[in-house]
């Protein structure tokens, strides 16, 4: 008995030491902890040579009845329309202010604003929880900040959907292809069983163009550019206008901003 106990303590000590050093390595390498030491939330600006693409949505210009941006997006990306909310796939869509800004609405907010449809989409977070939880790197952050999906690697575990605090991700619960009105051969269709979402039109960015929603918007409500470039149009808008983000308190650092 005595010997058993000694053996155990030795082994338990080893396991314990491995856990502690492993844990310390995880925290210091920034896998689990934010890399910023600033207690204020890590919202300080870091100008970098590497671009970080972002968008400002100016809701003062966005027309309530207009859906041009989501129409063009869903058509160029072969987004199926299943016609029911359970199987629904959406990349960019509208929802009421108090739904989009759950933490910014209050009891006396004007009735008009409360129910005003706000555009919503993937926030292409600088610290994306969906990327952190994905067990296969099927969702990953590109060097330019775009949070991208690899439809061929995704195993369909939907951990990213649980991880995303913005409800920006959709899963192909059923066969998508029959529900696509007209297939655009310039972008891949998806198979059943994988997750998808807005990709900031990475396929256009790579050709030096802007996202389809931005070029389609007649009102100029969508301003797109490099957040890390202090001279970019988007930074100037952010500098001169009051803007807000969705759920900034969660530390995900969304790259989509709103002018209310």
């Amino acid at each position: 008995m005595k010997k058993e106990r000694r053996d155990f303590i030795k082994q338990a000590g080893f396991v314990g030491a491995a856990v502690v050093t492993g844990g310390a390595a995880v925290v210091t390498s920034g896998i689990l902890a934010p890399t910023t030491a600033n207690a204020s939330s890590g919202h300080e600006v870091t100008d970098s040579d590497q671009p970080r693409l972002g968008m400002v949505i100016d809701m003062t210009k966005c027309k309530e009845e207009c859906n041009d941006c989501s129409d063009i997006c869903h058509s160029v990306h072969n987004v199926p329309d299943h016609g029911n909310p359970k199987d629904e796939i959406k990349w960019i869509w509208k929802n009421e202010y108090e739904r989009v800004f759950t933490d910014k609405s209050h009891q006396y907010v004007s009735q008009d604003l409360k129910q005003k449809p706000f555009l919503t989409m993937c926030n292409h977070c600088d610290d994306p929880p969906c990327v952190k939880v994905c067990p296969t790197n099927a969702t990953f952050k590109r060097n330019d900040g775009i949070v991208q999906m690899d439809f061929h690697r995704c195993i369909g575990c939907r951990f990213c959907m649980a991880g995303c605090p913005y409800g920006s991700r959709s899963f192909n619960w059923i066969e998508p292809r029959p529900a696509i009105k007209e297939i655009d051969s310039s972008f891949p269709t998806r198979e059943r069983g994988v997750v998808e979402k807005c990709n900031f039109c990475a396929e256009l960015i790579d050709k030096g163009e802007k996202p389809a929603c931005v070029t389609t918007c007649k009102e100029g409500a969508l301003i797109f550019g490099d957040l890390n470039d202090p001279n970019s149009e988007i930074r100037k808008v952010l500098e001169t206008t009051k803007t807000i983000q969705r759920k900034p308190g969660l530390g995900t650092k969304p790259s989509v901003f709103y002018v209310v």
């Binding site: 008995m1 058993e4 106990r5 053996d7 155990f8 082994q11 338990a12 396991v15 995880v26 896998i31 689990l32 909310p85 359970k86 199987d87 629904e88 929802n95 739904r99 989009v100 759950t102 933490d103 929880p129 952190k132 939880v133 994905c134 067990p135 296969t136 790197n137 099927a138 690697r153 995704c154 195993i155 369909g156 575990c157 939907r158 951990f159 959907m161 649980a162 991880g163 995303c164 605090p165 913005y166 409800g167 959709s170 899963f171 192909n172 619960w173 059923i174 066969e175 198979e191 059943r192 069983g193 994988v194 997750v195 759920k247 969660l250 530390g251 995900t252």
Partner: protein
């Protein structure tokens, strides 16, 4: 060794046949799901994990609970568990088999499951969960088998197995801790974003698992004339009682933090589960059934006569098992998605196909358990 579990009396073979047909029902359900897609389940854009992940979470607890036999027996030399420690290990094996199946049927692209190993991602808790669960399956199969084999040959277990047995102890805690980490680290899912999720998981596991083991021990006492012994039963009852009390204490803590702080986002999910939110009350009857069954069972466990009355004991164990099965195997996972990221209340409606797959997986687990228990008990009875 396992061949003993595949032969037996006519009743035993009929039992295996019954389980086999339930497994076939599950397989048929799974085929329908493969043909149509996961849209055939109650899951959707807003509730993206359903009963599969919830049952998975519950079964990880049952698997981890084997440690409640291994630890007293091997570390504290509690001899009364000698007869049943292997049953605990085999219960863990069957439970882990079920866990793996529940994850498998939940995948949208099951053919790509090996991607988790081909592209290892240490920043994902699912990667670690895969490692610890498979490791635990191997450890328990190995330890159970080697010790039982030695017993059959009437020699002491080989020395080299001891480190593996000792390793299985922290490993059991790790499987349920890492499973809690799947949920507890997600921003914006307030029901899960709590540091006591892992302890809560462990407490409910150490109540539900040993409660199931008591039920199984009572069963084999009747049908196989294999008595675990009074001391073993008494110790298990003590473990279940403490585990259950700790579990309800933790649930109480969640209520205090949410309701005293009065932060709406922290109260919403609890409100939905126990009182209904925006007029949606689908899970309310389940949660209160769970609460009353659980508290009633604790009452029975504290009543001294329960220990000497097998009927009362069985009722108490079934009560706590069903209570925790509802709490963890339904409420905790579904409730985490309500309300959704837009604070809309959308409910989950389980479908018939989903239930048939769940039944098939339970039948598979019980099949594995029957074969392993039968083998072990046959060997133990020969050498008694």
């Amino acid at each position: 060794m396992i061949e003993k579990g595949l032969t037996g009396s006519k009743t035993y073979m009929t039992w295996l046949g019954l389980l086999g047909s339930l497994m076939a029902v599950g397989a048929y359900g799974y085929k329908q799901q493969l043909d149509y897609g996961l849209g055939i389940t109650g899951m959707g854009r807003d509730i993206s994990w359903g009963i599969y992940v919830a049952q998975f979470t519950f079964m990880v607890g049952v698997a981890a609970s084997a440690v409640m036999l291994v630890l007293p027996y091997y570390l504290h030399n509690f001899k009364a568990f000698a007869k049943i420690v292997v049953l605990g290990e085999f219960l863990a094996v069957s439970a882990v088999v079920m866990c793996i199946l529940f994850i498998f049927v939940d995948l949208g692209k099951p053919s790509r499951i090996l991607n988790v190993m081909l592209y290892p991602t240490p920043h994902s808790m699912l990667f670690w969960d895969m490692l610890v669960l498979n490791g635990y399956l191997i450890l328990n199969t190995l330890c159970g088998r080697v010790v039982l084999k030695a017993e059959r040959q009437q020699v002491p277990p080989p020395k080299w197995i001891k480190p593996f047995i000792l390793l299985s102890i922290p490993w059991a805690f790790s499987i349920h801790t890492v499973t809690a980490f799947l949920f507890a680290g997600l921003p914006g899912r307030h029901l899960w974003l709590t540091a006591i999720l892992a302890p809560r998981f462990l407490a409910s596991a150490f109540a539900a698992g040993p409660a199931l083991l008591i039920l199984l021990a009572l069963l084999v006492k009747r049908i196989a004339d294999f008595d675990a012994g009074k001391a073993a039963f008494d110790k298990l009852i003590t473990i279940v009682t403490y585990g259950s009390i700790a579990n309800f204490f933790f649930i109480g803590l969640e209520f205090f933090t949410a309701y005293y702080s009065n932060i709406p986002s922290h109260m919403h999910s609890l409100e939905y589960l126990y009182f209904g939110l925006d007029g949606k009350t689908a899970l309310v009857p389940f949660m209160w059934t769970s609460t009353f069954l659980g508290l009633g069972a604790i009452g029975l466990f504290l009543y001294p006569k329960t220990r000497d009355n097998e009927t009362l004991l069985a009722i108490a164990c079934a009560g706590i098992f069903i209570s925790l099965w509802i709490d963890k195997g339904i409420g905790l996972i579904i409730g985490g998605f309500v309300p959704n990221a837009f604070e809309e209340v959308i409910e989950y409606q389980v479908t018939g196909v989903e239930i048939s797959i769940v039944v098939g997986i339970w039948a598979t687990g019980i099949f594995v358990l029957s074969v392993l228990f039968k083998s072990a008990i046959d060997i133990k009875k020969i050498h008694e």
